[in-house]
Symmetry: C2
Subunit: 356 residues, 2 copies
């Protein structure tokens, strides 16, 4: 992979790394950033001046459209270090395709493939010491694009910034989570932007999630906005239900994010001869399954948390506890995923992407 | 109105005004900013350091949550100069109440009333020369709040910025607009954030609006996300329909913005003995009214555009032209509103707010 000379990435290295100041055993997710970041501007109809530079503040107009109209999209990825010190990404092609899909829905110009991959490779190589060895450790990678044109009129920006930040991470969630099934609030509309990783989708969840937290639940399971009959996503993750030995999850639609972890789990399940049904999942069937004992597991799936088992859910003020499962699918898929991500197993699907 | 000493606004004035460089007869809406802006930070659980300073870039981390999670809200207001050089705002209390309502939905801490009004007054007084006389001229005022905490984890920010920018404006739209009634895309969901002036609501409209523009329509009339049966908003405005001599508009809900211009028009209409129905408006009844000739007018209503008459709408690939109305309601309400805003008439509702 090479870049034409006009698009080659200029690199400004830090004078002194900050890595010595970081306590890698006590990281808050997404709060610490590696030495370098990537920045590229869209102006005059093209992406230009791709630059790797020291992580730090940007100077931007308070009238930049991102602050006013939320024209912004992002991705979440991770770099993993294996036991031999080699560094891998996991299915970065999926993130590349998805950020451009998200951008299209948000009227943001698509980002060029070669700059995306070249930036990722150079950035991770430069900050390779920030990818710590050991299962569960990773370097979380956050590409994002946002509207930078000055102007408080509600129309698409003519200028954008595409940036990549990197943040060393341990596990995202600790322990099992208790969730509340949404009966009033919703995450996305038919014909809306729920399938995009659009910034505004996330901020819109904070208030309903706070309300759930006040009642003792860590996350909300979102239901369809029309009737709250169908189960859609869990917090910021896709959600799976195991009823007896069948795995259920909502189908991709313009309300559901096409999650990389979600599609990987579906592939693993099929490979493991586990029956998977991608179809609308009724709240009522899951409540019924909880009552009759056939509901074995619920878990969220996403890059940050990998797999997040749900230990209880609340619906119409009744709490349904889910017994811990011996040989749970959640644990099985998590192990299979991590083994592939950390190069501890074969990679039958060709998901690993070697950086160094 | 006075501020306690701990909250008093510090003022840093520009050394030299930029006003001489501005061509007030050729303004692009929202692209030129006055000399000063207001900035206040939320940290450690309180709004602090309210400051008026020269308009200019801010230094902010690219990991600030606003860029990633769209946790941001805004308002739109205008200052008007009357024929005697006095400056007025229009119903600023409504904007104050609404930005805090929007903030609550977006899990942003509410902003204190006394700082809001003190900031507005001081800022407009300081930049009073930027409020140009003459009907249609105004100083557009953009208060907004956004998440400034550094961190790429999807949870509410612990730090925010509240800012006020001001931009000299002429009329927002010129001429009548042709609109397309949405049949696939949507603006907001039940239980979503459509009633908030949340940043992400606007960016989400750009792509469907672009598609409409490619077909020759300037705006989209949004319909309900569930069935696209009901007419909700027009572009970034509330929308009114005149059928015979009755005015119809969608009722306020968690999908519909509680517009200041909207509620002012309803008050004016009632005062003028015009029948107003705030109720769900069916697409089918408006199409039928267009066919049988009882549809007299459609117009959008919002602070930026005031009133924006619609000259035609498209539904299911049929275009319905709306004949220009003698003595139109749109023109009548626009005149009544402008006369109040520019202090050319009595103010029976006590809507004007004197600045200087």
């Amino acid at each position: 992979m090479s870049l034409s000379s006009t698009k080659s990435i200029s690199v400004q290295k830090v004078e002194k790394s900050r890595i010595g100041q970081v306590d890698f055993d006590n990281l808050t997710f997404g709060a610490t950033f590696s030495d370098h970041m990537f920045e590229c501007d869209y102006k005059d109809g093209e992406w230009q001046n791709p630059t790797i530079k020291p992580y730090g503040n940007i100077s931007i107009s308070p009238a930049a459209k991102v602050f006013h109209y939320g024209q912004a999209v992002f991705e979440g990825m991770k770099a993993y270090k294996d036991d031999n010190g080699k560094i891998w990404l996991f299915r970065p092609e999926q993130n590349f395709l998805r950020i451009n899909k998200s951008s299209k829905r948000m009227a943001i110009p698509e980002f060029p493939r070669e700059i995306f991959f070249e930036a990722l490779e150079q950035l991770v190589k430069l900050d390779k010491e920030w990818v710590r060895p050991g299962m569960g450790n990773s370097l979380y990678i956050r590409p994002f694009a946002m509207a930078s044109q000055v102007g408080v009129s509600a129309s698409p920006s003519t200028e954008y910034k595409f940036m990549i930040l990197m943040s060393p991470a341990q596990a995202y969630y600790t322990g099992d989570v208790r969730v509340e099934i949404a009966e009033h609030y919703s995450r996305s509309a038919n014909g809306g932007v729920g399938a995009a990783k659009a910034a505004g989708n996330y901020g819109a969840q904070f208030y309903p999630t706070n309300l759930a937290r006040e009642k003792g639940f860590q996350q909300v399971i979102w239901t369809d906005a029309s009737d709250h009959k169908y189960l859609e996503e869990a917090g910021t993750m896709n959600v799976f239900f195991r009823v007896n030995d069948t795995l259920l999850t909502a189908p991709i639609s313009d309300r559901i994010l096409d999650g990389v972890t979600r599609k990987s789990i579906i592939a693993l399940a099929k490979n493991d001869n586990i029956k998977v049904e991608e179809r609308p999942v009724l709240v009522s069937e899951i409540v019924e399954a909880a009552k009759n004992g056939s509901l074995k597991e619920i878990f969220g799936a996403g890059t940050a948390a990998v797999i997040s088992p749900v230990s209880a859910f609340s619906y119409k003020d009744t709490v349904y506890e889910i017994d811990k499962q011996e040989d749970s699918y959640a644990a099985q898929f998590k192990k299979e995923l991590l083994d592939i991500q950390y190069n501890r197993s074969e990679d039958p699907f060709n998901w690993r992407y070697e950086i160094i």
